[in-house]
């Protein structure tokens, strides 16, 4: 194992980027909501899980395993839309009933409410599904591209490509449009923004919608990759994405993207690198140990994260 081949390490990098893409997508929701409300929406992992379920429902409606040919493209696109809409709706309801009434409460109150909402949603779904996993149809064409020692499966390529496209979309919305401008203005100074004629409530809702849509799409990608959905699936990716957002600097959009990829690479490549030390063996579970050790280290030594800035600051 110590002298593993180049291709082995390149595989690990690709794996890291794949998982990192999904962390980054989910992390954006944490960081944006933090930017405008200074609160951690711990129910975001469940928003991701519900998106994954919605995408699953759409794929089943399209015929499940029997989807083939060009229908695959259509079905996956529809799953994205369905997941984004479902996640956004849940998120908006959460904001409305759970967070908005606490907007001016001490900061601990919405945080605890968010944890409550997270548990509520998770167990609601576990109750309905009977805690059993459902299986995503295996419809994505298998196969891979190989260039020398470098190899990436079509699915991984698709996954990374979609994530990057989504992030680009978000970047344009936030930095180049009037909607994004109003979100950044609210993030910087809610009162001044309101005095400028910005409807603060609407800007906050839009922030939730954007973050949730990213999580919904990530949920579909997750399902296509790991082929399983279950009520408890949101917890670990949620908390990892939160870690990624903190790594990058919570409140910073580029920070969430970089943090996501950094965490994905650290836990895949990092674990293999540690295992490559003779005499040591770190089984797969050590991914999580590495991820959360990183969180502790960042909080200890650089609590503002890599970018350490506000959502409103320019990339």
């Amino acid at each position: 194992m110590f002298l593993a081949s180049t291709s082995f390490w390149l595989d690990q990098v690709v794996n890291g980027l794949t998982i990192g893409s999904m962390y980054a997508l989910i992390a954006l929701g944490y960081t944006m909501v933090y930017g405008v409300l200074k609160m951690i929406n711990f129910a975001h992992g469940e928003v991701f899980m519900l998106g994954s379920y919605a995408g699953f429902g759409v794929l089943v409606a399209f015929g499940g395993e029997s989807i083939a040919g060009p229908m695959v493209v259509l079905a996956i696109a529809a799953a994205f839309v369905g997941a984004a809409l479902a996640s956004a709706s849940v998120s908006v309801v959460l904001e409305r009933v759970a967070y908005r009434p606490l907007r001016n409460a001490p900061r601990l109150a919405p945080l605890i409410t968010a944890i409550g909402a997270s548990i509520f949603l998770q167990f609601l779904v576990l109750d309905v599904t009977g805690a059993k996993a459902s299986f995503y149809p295996r419809i994505f064409p298998s196969g891979s591209i190989e260039v020398g020692a470098f190899r990436i499966t079509y699915l991984q390529l698709f996954l990374v490509g979609c994530s990057v496209a989504m992030m680009l979309f978000l970047y344009i919305v936030v930095q180049r449009t009037a909607v994004g401008r109003s979100i950044r203005a609210v993030a910087e100074n809610r009162t001044a923004a309101s005095l400028m004629g910005i409807d603060v409530d609407r800007a906050i809702v839009t922030t939730f919608v954007l973050g949730a849509a990213m999580a919904g799409v990530a949920g579909v990608l997750w399902g296509l990759f790991f082929l399983q959905v279950r009520g408890s699936m949101g917890f670990l990716p949620g908390i990892k994405a939160f870690t990624a957002a903190v790594l990058g600097g919570i409140g910073s959009i580029p920070g969430a993207m970089v943090g996501g990829y950094f965490l994905g690479l650290a836990e895949t490549v990092g674990r293999e690198a540690l295992s490559a030390i003779p005499g040591l063996n770190f089984p797969n579970e050590w991914r999580d140990v590495i991820a959360f050790s990183l969180l502790v280290l960042v909080l200890l030594f650089r609590p503002t994260g890599i970018f350490g800035e506000l959502v409103s600051r320019r990339a």
Partner: protein
Amino acid sequence: MSVRPLLEVRGLSVRFQGLLALDSVDMTVPPGQIRGLIGPNGAGKTTLFNCLTGFYRPTGGSILLDGVRIDGMPMHHVAALGVARTFQNIRLFANMTVIENVLVGAHRTIPVGGPDQLRPRRRHEQRLAEVAAQLRGLPGGVVSSLVEIAGALVRPPAWIRAEREAVERARRLLEAVGLRGRENELARNLPYGDQRRLELARALASRPRLLLLDEPTAGMNPGETLAMMDLIRRLREEYGLTIILIEHQMRVVMGICEEVTVLDYGRKIAEGPPEAVQRDPAVIEAYLGTKFARQLRGGHGTP
């Protein structure tokens, strides 16, 4: 014949727990006037501003802007009706660029911020804007947000044009306040005087009818103060503004205000042309204390 006042404040009171910050204040400002609002510290000047913008909900009385009652309205609605302000301690969006600050000020003139402000030239665009306006009227939910996001990305021609016009206007405003060529700097990197002028441009971007200036010359040297006075007068003419300004420098008040309202302990104690107000014993007393006022009067013969 008298014109309808642009601002009419009637019996305005604000009570914070035990403290009566404003005590049935009446104030009428005709359109086009520059009105000074003065008074010792804690007199209630900023509280009055906060009521006029909708930041505070008064505990009594009413505020009419051009005949429309605005007290109790949410701030962004008051802003949409044409009230804008600057702050004593500058509150720019520090991490946004100069032009972005002005564009935020212009928010409601850009379709995603308010299609009602838009005058589309072609029929289908008009229809689109109407539908968008209706959808955006829905209670803040997924649909209205999605319409905004989709609109921002798909950008129907009328919206692009409106955004482009807003950018043009923002450039002209920056030029008017003397910030030409600084569009892409971050607001926090501007020197103090420029930040004040940017705040002014941002306030103007919302096309206000009533502009509230909270100590516009605070921290300025005499030269800068004179330039700011000039600028305020010029902007009033150019944009047909009615202006109320809180000011401590008497030179500024005497120099540009047509009328002055004086507050003390939340009550209006005097109102009128600056020279008259300056001589008013009640005002002198409020500023200098009873004893000193008596001495002043004593100079005229009565002890």
